[in-house]
């Protein structure tokens, strides 16, 4: 993602976003200045809904954690166990997003990808064109309440 620094005006290939005081910013590779990063309206709506999702899924013990991943910018929001570092999640997000999108292009009509490793499952849901919600579960599928509320085919609470 190409962005221009608000301070020095230099072009930046943005691959990482910081959230400070709730605002998305990128750090200029030339001068180090933190410039605001502007998500499109759809992405902003998803980011807001994601916060509600993270809060609600705390009440589901079968959900171990989740994170929001941007196809171009990497890890955006992290609610995974601390044993997993941001670099781990970035790697995981890249691989899972790639797998999902390849599945979509080759198979068509993919609405969920599930990767089962040992006794854990990573469920991948795509939001809009660029965002992925990745959810770590103990079970092979998402709890029905969560699936129906946040990921129905269409619905008011849906992403």
């Amino acid at each position: 993602m190409i962005c221009f620094c608000e301070d020095c005006g230099k072009k930046n290939q943005v691959t990482f976003i910081e959230f400070s005081t709730g605002q998305a910013r990128f750090r200029c590779a030339v001068c180090g200045y933190l410039s605001p990063y502007h998500f499109n309206p759809r992405e902003n709506a998803i980011l807001e809904q994601a916060e509600i999702f993270f809060e609600e899924t705390r009440n589901f013990p079968e959900i171990l954690g989740s994170f929001l991943f941007h196809r171009d910018l990497g890890l955006l929001k992290n609610h995974m166990p601390e044993i997993l570092k941001p670099a781990d999640l970035d790697f995981l997000g890249k691989k899972l997003a790639r797998i999902y999108e390849y599945g979509q292009s080759e198979l068509g009509h993919v609405n969920e990808t599930t990767l089962c490793i040992a006794d854990k499952t990573m469920v991948v849901k795509k939001m809009g064109k660029t965002l992925f919600m990745i959810i770590a579960c103990k079970s092979s599928t998402l709890p029905r309440n969560i699936s129906e509320r946040y990921f129905p085919p269409a619905g008011p609470g849906a992403f």
Partner: protein
Amino acid sequence: MPNIEPFASLLKTPGVDQYILVDRDGKIFSQAMAEPRKMAGFVFFCGMNAQAIGKFRYLAFSRENQGHFFIFPVGKYYLGVIKQKDISHAVLVDNIFQFLKDNVNRQ
């Protein structure tokens, strides 16, 4: 290399609609699947990327109104399976694991 012959009977396993077995170069060893060459590349690519994350048990693609697609690692191979519509995800996975246990892991 696993014995390929048992895989011909994979279609008799409840829940299996189509299947393809590929090695880690994407070469087809056994298949009963539409567009096998395309699917071989797909299974190989996704299997390799899943393997890069860790030793996975299976990878599943849920599709609207179509048979879900599963990928299982089988030794140095990847098995792609399209699930029949009238069977659950969990039952299909259990049936595949049982098939592999009975026909492959025993060797």
